[in-house]
């Protein structure tokens, strides 16, 4: 694809790791997250990608939306092939950074062993998990990351069930137990925060991990235009805390300014629709359960700030003329 210099696309003042023409759904949070991660990481990287939506929608041969070298092998081995790429770079004395990517299925579940091995061996790899909380590529089945009570095709609500019976796996704590230099959670709703975390991880020579909350309009049952709104509410309600861990210890959190009830977040999504059936007493119970989980997060991570942090969950996305307030 040749581009003339008159083409504004060729003159964008940012690196495009993920090019247009990919086939993600409208409003795809994962595509956005991947775009943000790769443009923050810059051109001197090599990506590996677990099987999943991201892999499928970016590389239907003969096309690829990637502008950086990219390698896909299997669902469960993104971290392992990244280990191999990194070992090869080391062997060759090349200094490009390796970024391994996977969805929550490929990270929390089937690819977890490879990830754990990669972290334990201290490969110089940034692993990015795009967390959309279910197996989306196969049509929305529950994963270890699916939140409690969420509806998926394998955790449907019914007479005996109210969506997923189990809890969302606390992956970050498991990652923390590997004692790696840096791990963080981020969200597409806070792109500046996400970019900062990517840059931070890129600077570290060693294994780092980023969990990026990436709404899936199809799987979560919301309009594509609401992706950011919903991701923002996940953070603001405390259901998806944004934290940074250094060597397994909490180093910082994005504080919350005000308590937003989880139902504000839940009611926007089809996957929680069954929690708003007034005639079902279980609905309220599950909503309260989810609120308790959010409250637990707030307490555990000390999410409530003193209201003075301009970059708390209310202030971190503030804009001004010429760009974001926090560049």
């Amino acid at each position: 694809m040749t581009q003339t210099t008159n083409d504004p696309r060729a003159r964008q003042p940012r690196f495009r790791g993920l090019e247009a023409g990919h086939r993600a759904c409208q409003g795809c949070g994962e595509a956005l997250a991947a775009r943000l991660v790769t443009e923050s990481a810059g051109p001197d990287v090599i990506l590996t990608n677990a099987t999943g939506c991201l892999e499928v929608f970016t590389t239907p041969w003969p096309q690829s939306a990637w502008r950086v070298p990219w390698l896909h092998s299997l669902f469960e081995n993104s971290a392992a092939i990244a280990s191999g790429v990194e070992a090869a770079l080391k062997a060759q004395g090349r200094r490009s950074k390796v970024i391994a990517m996977g969805g929550d299925g490929g990270t929390f579940d089937i690819g977890f062993q490879a990830l754990s091995g990669m972290l334990e061996r201290m490969h110089n790899v940034l692993y990015v998990c795009y967390d959309n909380e279910a197996y989306m590529n196969t049509g929305i089945q529950r994963s270890g990351s699916t939140p409690h009570a969420a509806m998926t095709t394998t955790s449907p609500p019914g007479k005996e069930r109210m969506g997923k019976r189990h809890l969302k796996k606390d992956l970050l704590s498991i990652i923390a137990a590997h004692h790696i230099p840096y791990a963080a959670s981020a969200s597409v709703a806070y792109p500046q925060d996400l970019r900062r975390k990517v840059r931070r991880a890129m600077e570290i020579d060693g294994p780092t991990f980023l969990l990026v909350h990436s709404p899936c309009p199809l799987g979560w049952g919301h309009d594509g235009s609401e992706t950011i709104e919903i991701a923002r509410l996940a953070v603001q309600t405390g259901l998806f805390p944004l934290v940074e861990l250094e060597r397994g210890e909490v180093a910082s959190v994005m504080p919350l300014r005000q308590k937003v009830p989880v139902s504000d977040y839940l009611k926007l999504q089809g996957r929680f629709r069954h929690l708003f059936v007034d005639s079902d007493h279980r609905a309220r119970e599950e909503r309260e359960h989810l609120q308790a989980l959010a409250d637990y997060n707030m307490e555990r991570y000390g999410l409530f700030g003193d209201g003075d942090d301009p970059f708390d969950a209310d202030g971190a996305d503030t804009v001004r003329r010429g760009g974001p307030a926090r560049a």
Binding site: M1, P8, R9, R11, Q12, P13, R14, R16, L18, E19, A20, G21, H22, R23, A24, Q26, G27, C28, G29, A31, L32, R35, L36, T58, T59, P60, W61, P62, Q63, S64, A65, W66, R67, V68, V188, P191, P217, D223, G224, S225, E226, T227, I228, E229, R232, P310, D314, G315, D317, T318, V319, R320, R321, G322, G323, P324, A325
Partner: protein, 567 residues
């Protein structure tokens, strides 16, 4: 030739550009260019958002240049305008409105201080000549805008100095004479030929002007007080409000009764009341049929005075009697010793129109030794008799075109009140001058005049997640004990305050260049342009790839993007 499979099925970087995802779209994002509410509310037609944006970029001179494309007198309006822009400001619903008025004043003062030149518009020099009668705000505005359009403009005024009611009816405590001198002086230097001491009807006739000039604009103001009596009774020594104010402004003379009642609810009434109070008159009452601003008052029925001025007047001891009228004069011989007031209110009648109804049994008496009517003024008919034909005001359309009088235009206080274009303020007069200039230019260029008309952006169209609450600047006011007949009471912002306050602007309906659309497009279909894109945005939609998800529209903080269904 079909594409051939390669070794290992690899793909080239960015080759996805061959796949045009724009075909997936059922709705497309467009830049909507809604007006900021401030713009919509401005009688002068200023686009405050536009010049605030330039201030946000740190370009005060450019901001002033943008401002004076509609209003050439910001140092003046920045002091006397009741600033409906601030009342309309969306930020008022979020925390507090932007202090547009103060920033405008600061810009006007900066222009004077730095002697910034009025921007010159390009275009051919026009041979046509236009006469402007009256060098008040309307006439000055018309003269300026026509000069900008390269017409030969001759500005006539009966007085020796330009300014009209700015000089004759506004106290220097509100508008220092130095500001009038400086700003109008600079304005007249833009190429306007000013002929002072030339009164219509006395020194020139309208017919002469119409034959000598290609168009004539009448900005003669309303110089004659409206007839006032109470059931036919008029005190022998009646002084009308405007006349008293003019006299005081001209020579400093003022009658000194013990107690006075001023009847009326406009600037003349309040200005005069404050002047009289400061002159040491013990009891200064203002009786007005309108209400004071407050939660229970109908917005259509509020005193036509800047709220701050009203507060200051009350501070200074002026006693207001809202929703009242004078029912009866209590006379001792031909001298007034008191007035009887009665309560009234504006209520809808049977036809749904609102009219004032007084309530029997609510009469009260004020003991005063002077009553001053300030119920408004009408056009002085001198020289305009056959145009005015017994009417109080000149009948015009929105462009100031006088019915049945081609080539003759009017604006400012001299014209009829139009529902969409209320007059009675300096800003409205400036707006009239500007629209009339457009109409004159259109007439002489044989085209239809145009006035930009865009819907204002509603508050609900903003995405407030992207704004942080921040307090409005507070501006200095002269302490009560320091107030006198000359010192300006209201202070303006300093540079730092003005620049900081400008940053609070939401940029309603217009691109904030915040990068949100560019940052949040999952499809890389928003492109940032190095120069400002043609439509005033900093971004282009690449419709070859835009899938129409609507994220950019939803996350645009300022409502600049909306989704439009594809045909």
């Amino acid at each position: 030739m079909p594409i051939t499979m390669n070794r290992g099925a690899y793909a080239l970087a960015g080759s996805s550009l061959a796949f045009k995802t724009g075909t997936w779209r059922s709705a497309k994002p467009v830049h909507v260019h809604a007006a900021a509410p401030c713009h919509g509310a401005c009688p002068a037609g200023e686009d405050q958002q536009a010049w605030l944006a330039l201030l946000q970029e740190g370009k005060p001179q450019k901001a002033w240049e943008s401002l004076v494309t509609s209003n050439p007198l910001p140092a003046i309006t920045g002091r006397v305008c009741p600033h409906p822009c601030e009342s309309a400001c969306n930020r008022g619903q979020f925390d507090q409105p932007i202090a547009i008025h103060g920033i405008e004043r600061w810009l006007g003062d900066e222009a004077i201080r730095n002697n910034w030149s009025y921007p010159r518009l390009s275009g051919e020099i026009r041979p046509e000549r236009v006469a402007i009668v009256g060098a008040g705000p309307a006439g000055l505005s018309a003269a300026y805008h026509l000069t900008q359009r390269k017409y030969n403009v001759v500005l006539f005024d009966s007085l020796p100095e330009a300014g009209g009611l700015l000089r004759s009816a506004i106290p220097p405590t509100r508008l220092p004479r130095s500001v009038i001198d400086a700003e109008i002086g600079r304005l007249l230097h833009t190429g306007i030929e000013f002929r002072p001491r030339t009164a219509l009807g006395r020194d020139i006739t309208l017919d002469e002007l119409r034959s000598e000039f290609d168009a004539v604009f009448l900005g003669v103001g309303a110089g004659k007080s409206r007839h006032w009596d109470v059931d036919g009774a008029v005190p022998a020594d009646l002084h009308e409000g405007l006349a008293l104010l003019r006299e005081w402004l001209a020579v400093g003379a003022l009658p000194k009764p013990n107690a006075v009642v001023i009847h009326g609810g406009g600037n003349t009434a309040v200005d005069l009341a404050r002047v009289m109070r400061r002159a040491g008159i013990r009891d200064v009452h203002v009786v007005t049929a309108s209400g004071l601003p407050g939660p229970d008052t109908d917005p259509d029925d509020i005193l036509n005075v800047v709220p701050r001025e009203l507060e200051q007047a009350i501070e200074e001891g002026v006693q207001f009697h809202p929703h009242r009228t004078i029912n009866r004069l209590i006379m001792r011989g031909s001298k007034v010793v008191g007035v009887e007031m009665v309560r009234l209110k504006k209520l809808p009648d049977g036809s749904g129109r609102k009219s004032r109804v007084s309530f029997e049994g609510t009469e009260t008496v004020l003991h005063v030794d002077m009553v001053v009517p300030a119920i408004g003024e009408v056009v002085d008919a001198s020289g305009l008799e056959h145009i005015l034909r017994q009417r109080d005001f000149l009948p015009v359309d929105m462009f100031g075109r006088i019915e049945g009088q081609p080539g003759l235009f009017a604006g400012g206080d001299a014209r009829d009140r139009l529902k969409a274009y209320p007059n009675g303020t300096v800003s409205a007069a400036i707006g009239d001058g500007r629209r009339a200039a457009e109409a004159i230019d259109a007439l002489l260029s044989r085209r239809q005049p145009v006035e930009e008309s865009r819907p204002s952006l509603p508050y609900a169209s903003l995405n407030l997640s992207y704004y942080e609450s921040s307090p409005r600047i507070s501006l200095p006011t002269l302490a009560l004990e320091q107030r006198n007949d000359n010192a300006e009471i209201e202070g303006g912002p300093n540079t730092a305050q003005a620049m900081a306050e400008a940053q609070r602007c939401f940029s309603c309906g217009n691109c904030l260049a915040c990068d949100n659309c560019w940052t949040l497009c999952p499809d890389n279909a928003v492109l940032k342009t190095s120069e400002i894109a043609k439509d005033g945005s900093h971004y282009l939609f690449d419709y070859e790839y835009c899938k129409g998800c609507g994220l950019c529209a939803k996350e645009c903080p300022c409502g600049f993007i909306s989704m439009q269904a594809e045909e």
